[in-house]
């Protein structure tokens, strides 16, 4: 077990180095940052001087090495554009992205899993058909379109709709930014104010919808699979209650694939929240990254990618450990008798 964790940690470090290398080398060729920083009338000498001061004329691997050494110490360089440490920029932005992703993940899991179980158990029920049809929309519509539609309905048209029907049918919801935040140490949270919570609603739904429908469909198909197995029949033949059979025996057996996908999806939620952030002008890392791309702000871009890589690696590590918790067959030592299930 410990050997496994150590091995996975070493692999993770390897992955991080590779991500860093790719991120850093890609961005080194997307344009000349000096051009973006200086005006038209800057002389060649001044440009050269700036280049030397930023270390941009050093060989590639020296630059990369310097980036890594500093990164390990929490120093991600200075943003060319904002002229502030990238670490500061990211710490400012991380809470917004993580809070949004967290709420989206919670929505996706706590709505997606029960819906999946329901549609798995009541395969031909009318409600199941409704869920499945709706989920098709969630899977096939692109995120930005859902966001824009939500803004249209709950932001732009809500007052008109309410006026037309004569009562408060569609609530007016914030469609822009985070609302008021409260500072807890370095972490700024929107959970503690009303406007902060309201501002979370539309972006988190936008971000969660795809994952929710994906999880629902996954849980459904896994449930259908498991309900056909002999041990479920045997559990029923022993007279166990429906609840014990469906949730205790069936649902738990669907968890391994569900955990895998959910873990990967959580990573994607954080990484691809940048689209949602762009649509709702959410002041998170994604927005920072998009701006950085426009301005060839290499330290910000590289740090962002490193960070996303880190989240993915970390989540996968947690997923692997959860397998061990869920499935005893993986915990087995070498002295296993009999075949596998």
């Amino acid at each position: 077990m410990i050997a496994f964790v150590v091995r996975r940690l070493l692999q993770s470090i390897g992955v991080m180095l590779a991500v860093g290398l790719i991120a850093f080398s890609l961005f080194n060729y997307v344009g000349d940052p000096i051009n973006n920083m200086v005006g038209q009338d800057t002389t060649l000498e001044q440009r050269q001087e700036l280049r030397e001061r930023l270390g941009l004329d050093d060989p590639f691997f020296v630059q990369y090495g310097r980036f890594l050494v500093n990164a390990v110490q929490g120093d991600f360089g200075i943003s060319y554009r904002h002229r502030r440490p990238v670490a500061d920029l990211i710490t400012e932005r991380v809470p917004a992205t993580l809070e949004l992703s967290f709420i989206a993940a919670v929505l996706a899991l706590f709505i997606g899993v029960p819906m999946g179980v329901y549609t798995g158990l009541h395969r031909r029920g009318a409600l199941s058909q409704v869920f499945l049809s709706v989920s098709l929309v969630g899977v096939s519509l692109p995120t930005f379109l859902i966001g824009i539609l939500l803004i249209l309905v709950f932001g732009v048209m809500s007052q008109d709709i309410n006026a037309a029907v004569g009562f408060y049918l569609v609530p007016q919801l914030p469609t822009f930014g985070r609302g008021d935040t409260v500072q807890l140490g370095w972490w700024s949270t929107g959970f503690l104010t009303k406007s902060g919570l309201l501002a979370l609603i539309l972006p988190s739904i936008t971000l969660a919808l795809f994952q929710m429908t994906l999880i629902m469909r996954l849980v459904r198909s896994e449930m259908l699979e498991v309900l056909r197995t002999d041990y479920i029949k045997f559990a029923r033949a022993r007279g166990l209650t429906n609840r014990a059979v469906n949730f205790g025996h069936a649902l738990k057996n669907t968890l391994v694939p569900v955990i895998t996908i959910t873990g990967l999806q959580l990573g994607s939620i954080i990484a691809f929240s940048l689209i949602t952030e762009q649509v709702f002008q959410w002041p998170g890392m994604g927005l920072l990254f998009i701006q950085a791309i426009n301005e060839v702000d290499i330290p910000v871009m590289a740090s962002y990618l490193m960070m996303i890589g880190f989240f993915f690696v970390f989540i996968n590590l947690v997923v692997d450990l959860l397998y061990y918790v869920v499935d005893p067959r993986l915990r087995a030592d070498k002295a296993v008798s009999g075949g596998h299930q």
């Binding site: 041990y231 033949a237 067959r329 008798s337 009999g338 075949g339 299930q341």
Partner: protein, 335 residues
Amino acid sequence: MSRTGTNQPLLQVENLRVEIPGRRGTLVAVDDISFAIGEGEVLGVVGESGAGKSLTGAAVIGLLEPPCRIAGGQILFDSRRIDNLPYEKLRRIRGRHIGMVFQDPLTSLNPLYTVGRQLTETILTHSDLSEKGARKRALELLQEVGIPAAERRIDQYPHEFSGGMRQRVVIALALCASPRLIIADEPTTALDVSIQAQIITLLKRLCRDHGAAVMLVTHDMGVIAETADRVAVMYAGRIVEIGPVADVVLRARHPYTEGLMGSIPLVGHDVDRLTQIDGAMPRLNAIPAGCAFNPRCPKAFERCRQARPELETVEATEAACWLYEEAPERSGTDG
């Protein structure tokens, strides 16, 4: 349900009919069968694959998989009708009064829970024992089914047991609420030949000790001959012969049973060739008119192709064959 009873058999199946509705019409998988199992009796049910043996067992315990359904007849357990009970009432009977052992011990146990947890869960569902009492009972059961070092094994997972040991666990699970009837659906088919005899002996001993009746579904005549009190032979969804095991095995009446018995090699009997029944059992959508066995029957005559025989008493057994219609004394073969 009291044990003090009349002479009523424990289980009575009357004119049971199981259908499988499909796109191209409804298939009749179990067609109008009747039998009874007495208290503590072992009834063997034999037949080829697809004869309807397992479906009959599943129908009795109320676990037919949709779209299969009971389309007619009734099932009485302890003189009480159980085939039309609502799900929740039937659930209380399952495990508590009627237990079931499945074919494949490798897939019958939930891989994610220890055998101890699966046992205590079942015991707690059917009794008022405390968590601790249930665990103690689980341990006793594991010892009773012959699991060595049960104190240690109780906290192990199914994958840590061998096939034979797992089937012992399955039997312990089926018996843990002391049901009065066990439906054993091919309990040894998936096991090594060397283990089969052990498991059958164990099952038989335990059921005798607990006073449980057994409906033993199998296609292994050896197992039946060794274990059963009575035997029912099924063919294409119907019972073609039913009676005390010695009579059926040694003096088979129905030509199908005869063929079945003739195809078993016997130790000590010098037989040049084993008999073989030509052809195969008809598919459910192509059951011939008259007796379903007539195309393969060496003794078939005109009547067999026209009308379907019902079970008739022939000395100690009952057989569904026109050969015995008028003359219960084994008359010659006509045609």
